[in-house]
């Protein structure tokens, strides 16, 4: 009997918590669902805090690889805004009529860096050192679909060392996962955005890819065609281009286009 009661109590607690969640959503004003590239995480959260101080709308983020997000939007995910880390993903959605083409803007850019674990990491004199045996594993966001991975592969191919290191590549779900693999010391190096490297304390930037040497990195923003709150989404999109937001992006290391 006591056991039955305990089990029922546990279930009741779960239900009550679920109900509280639903109520909490009801009392809020409009929620703007922003599907954003993982590399934008920290900067966007700060931008949203600034925005929410003056707006009654709430910004709800979904951070993941842009490829994952584009896929979810194709499958009908309730996105209001899509902030991609490459133009290609936006082109795909535009071709399918899933974004509002007129709203599309590209304001941010980034550069690539090679990171190693802060303690015990290998020395790197240049990117070509990655072909050496002492770099046994190199984390890169999935190089056939995730923007950061595609940029990294493009850069390494341009250097002529992609084939030599392809076997050591550990593909990750998104760019932040590649960064985390280095931070934990489980891989020897990773190619990530410069802005990502600045968010982790346990990694060291071993090499900065000069802007001219790397591929052109561009973050297009656009309104989702199926947005249920286009007016509110448009307002946040406009805020993303404001000086206040730009200042936050720049402070996080993003480049303006």
């Amino acid at each position: 009997m006591r056991r039955t009661l305990a089990a029922l109590a546990l279930l009741a607690f779960g239900l009550a918590a679920g109900a509280a969640e639903v109520r909490a959503v009801e009392v809020r004003a409009v929620e703007v669902n922003v599907y954003a590239a993982a590399s934008l995480t920290d900067a966007l959260q700060e931008v949203a805090r600034g925005y929410e101080r003056t707006s009654r709308d709430r910004i709800v983020f979904q951070f993941a690889a842009s490829s994952t997000l584009a896929r979810q939007i194709e499958q009908g995910a309730p996105a209001d805004l899509f902030l991609s880390a490459d133009e290609l993903k936006m082109d795909v959605l535009a071709a399918k009529g899933l974004i509002d083409r007129a709203s599309r803007v590209s304001v941010l850019s980034n550069t690539l860096v090679i990171v190693v674990p802060a303690t015990g990491g290998q020395r790197l004199n240049g990117p070509r050192d990655l072909t050496q045996r002492r770099f046994a594993s190199i984390a890169i966001a999935e190089p056939s679909s995730v923007p950061a991975g595609i940029y990294a592969r493009t850069y390494l191919t341009r250097l002529g060392i992609w084939k030599a290191i392809a076997r050591k590549v550990i593909p990750t779900d998104n760019v932040r996962a590649a960064l985390a693999a280095v931070a934990s010391g489980n891989v020897d190096a990773a190619v990530v955005y410069r802005t990502d490297a600045r968010t982790a304390t346990r990694v060291r930037i071993a090499y900065e890819v000069p802007r001219a040497a790397g591929p052109v990195i561009s973050y297009p923003f656009a309104l989702a065609a199926s947005s249920e709150h286009p007016a509110e989404a448009r307002r946040f999109l406009a805020y993303l281009r404001s000086n206040a937001a730009r200042e936050v992006f720049v402070r996080h290391g993003f480049l303006l286009r």
């Binding site: 046994a136 693999a181 010391g185």
Partner: protein, 221 residues
């Protein structure tokens, strides 16, 4: 079947089989202790063994990652000995083994409990030692239940996803098992190829459960 599909299937079946074989000895040992003996801390061990069955697989994966990472308490030691676990096929086997362990233990425990203790007592009065009783009486009588448990453990290992992706990554050709490959293909938008792999997954799961059930039915008859 394409070369890639063959590679994925081969990797999945090999790692799942290895994981199942590796957990047989410890699994049977614990199952037998749980079935036949009372000892302090028994219910604690019972609960711990069942945990991977109900814990979020990614949580189990995270624990394994912390333990076996290059800087983890066990991983550091293995790394120094030249054995890297995380992001290799070894991590796939590790994740599969841990996640399948409870299924094997549960099935084997039930099988041991269903062996009539009188038969074991009889053998003992005839002069057989504990080891001989176990090998010649207990094990053969429990065999069908144990094999059925191994098949279920194998099927669970084939389907493992959450713990594997954390501790082994999703590296095509090296750690990308059937489940991970399906996920990858869907991410890339190649649903057709994902569905082909899905058919293999269904076929393996069906065969494993079907045979496991057949073993149990024969015992009951």
């Amino acid at each position: 079947m394409s070369a890639t599909e063959l590679q994925i299937l081969g990797l999945t079946l090999r790692t799942a089989a290895l994981a199942t074989l590796l957990i047989v000895l410890p699994g049977l040992g614990i199952a037998w202790l749980l079935a036949r003996h009372r000892w302090p801390g028994k219910s604690l061990v019972e609960t711990l063994v069942a945990l991977p069955l109900v814990m979020p697989p990614v949580a189990t994966g995270l624990l394994l990652l912390e333990l076996f990472g290059r800087r983890g308490p066990l991983g550091r030691w293995l790394h120094a000995a030249g054995v890297d676990v995380v992001f290799t096929w070894r991590a796939v086997v590790l994740a599969m083994g841990v996640m399948s362990f409870p299924l094997l233990v549960r099935a084997a425990r039930v099988a041991f409990e269903e062996v009539n203790p009188r038969l074991e007592g009889l053998a003992r009065t005839l002069g057989a030692g504990n080891v001989r009783v176990f090998v010649t009486i207990t094990l053969p009588l429990a065999a069908r239940g144990i094999v059925s448990g191994m098949l279920l453990a194998f099927a669970r290992a084939v389907g493992e996803f959450g713990a594997t992706i954390l501790v082994a990554g999703n590296i095509p050709g090296r750690t990308s098992t059937l489940s991970l490959a399906i996920y990858n293909l869907v991410q890339l938008g190649h649903d057709g190829e994902a569905f082909r792999l899905l058919l293999f997954a269904v076929a393996i799961a069906f065969a494993a459960v079907f045979i496991a059930e057949a073993f149990l039915r024969r015992r009951a008859a």
